[in-house]
């Protein structure tokens, strides 16, 4: 009877065992974000607009991530009444991008340091993307300067370079795995063209920036990292 109890005890103990606690992570995340966009273009004033992002992340490590993202949103700027050029636009755009993101935890030995542990989730990322511009509203004619007309295209496709930095709050589950990640970031998108506003003018290329708040959910492909992800 004692042998039987001992055998059962060992078996039940195995149910509660958590091997390599804190080292495991999911290789695949799925998430979404909301963004506040600002477009810096040939239009004279800047307006804030909204966008929604859907992203799939491959986590090469917990701190080295490859992200495929789709953005659907609006960009707007200018004022036909209150600016000399009269330029005003609204762009209902769709963008696809691929970024590689590196977090400070990849370099830092944060296990025994409170400050480094807080900094481990700071990240920077860069990549390449393509944006499909669909100008839904535009004013090209100046109200004030006769003959001042700003030409451009209402529909265009342009490549852009997304650069982003931010902080990824990792929320751990009972197995000490990062199950949910909350992302707070600032993204600078350098468009390799001048049609973001449907207006081709000036020397600078167009840019749009984004303040991003997102969430990612671990969806599978669990594996181990070389060090503990959560702090001991």
């Amino acid at each position: 009877m004692k042998k039987l109890l001992l055998t059962f005890s060992i078996c039940f103990a195995a149910l509660f065992a958590k091997a390599q606690l804190g080292y495991n992570y999911a290789q695949y995340d799925l998430g979404f974000s909301a963004a506040l966009n600002y477009a810096y273009t040939d239009a004279e004033t800047v307006k804030g607009t909204a966008a929604a992002h859907l992203h799939f992340t491959y986590n090469q490590t917990p701190f080295l991530n490859h992200i495929a993202e789709v953005q659907i949103g609006r960009l707007a700027g200018g004022d036909s009444l209150l600016t000399l050029s009269g330029r005003q636009f609204k762009n209902g755009y769709t963008a696809i991008s691929f970024r590689t993101q590196i977090q400070a935890g990849e370099f830092l030995n944060y296990e025994r340091n409170v400050v480094f542990n807080a900094l481990k989730n700071v990240y920077a990322s860069g990549g390449i993307g393509v944006i499909y511009n669909n100008i839904t509203e535009i004013n090209r004619q100046s109200l004030y300067i006769p003959d001042f007309y700003s030409s451009g295209r209402n529909n265009s496709t342009e490549f852009f370079v997304p650069l982003k930095f931010g902080y990824e709050f990792k929320i751990f589950n009972s197995y000490d795995e990062p199950a949910i990640k909350v992302d707070l970031g600032y993204q600078y998108n350098l468009v390799l063209g001048d049609q973001l506003d449907g207006i081709n003018s000036g020397n600078r290329k167009d840019v749009y920036t984004q303040f991003v708040l997102g969430v990612k959910f671990a969806i599978g492909g669990f594996t181990s990292y070389r060090k503990q992800i959560s702090r001991q």
Partner: protein, 148 residues
């Protein structure tokens, strides 16, 4: 740790770069440096369709165009009894080159006959009158000079 500093440096650079825009510039083809300055109206030659010509020369220092940088301009007329602050464009893409001035609902359009910064600015205007039922065009030639 140096790599972490690199991340922060990138962050600062991105913020710094985020707010730069092209300054709003009026296209070069709508500007003409020869126009800059104050031009007083000296003469209007009026030619009717039948070839009859008359000339007006009794103008005051309240009859002028003042063209400034940034395409700003002031148009003043003693006959209208007021001056107008607005913007001009000298369009070199048109043949002949045109000069337009706009202030609110007032829009003046001329063909530029000649510009000599040390001499005269000569502008042409054709106005067609359809009130009588038969269109009649009257041609106006305005001569301005920088000295009053």
């Amino acid at each position: 740790m140096k790599k972490v500093y690199g991340l922060f440096l990138l962050a600062v650079l991105l913020f710094a770069a985020g707010c730069k825009q092209d300054p709003p510039v009026v296209p070069a083809y709508l500007q003409n440096a020869k126009l800059l300055g104050k031009w007083y109206l000296k003469e209007i030659a009026i030619t009717q369709e039948d070839g009859t010509t008359s000339t007006l020369t009794d103008f005051t220092d309240k009859d002028f165009f003042d063209f400034k940088s940034g395409n700003a301009a002031t148009y003043s007329s003693a006959l209208r009894g007021k001056s107008y602050e607005g913007y001009y464009s000298a369009n070199s893409l048109n043949t002949p080159n045109t000069l337009s001035f706009k202030s609110g609902t007032l829009l003046l359009k001329y063909d530029i006959y000649s510009i000599d910064p040390a001499g005269d600015l000569v502008l042409d205007e054709a106005i067609t009158d359809t009130d009588s039922g038969v269109p009649e065009t009257t041609y106006y030639r305005y001569t301005y000079n920088k000295t009053f």
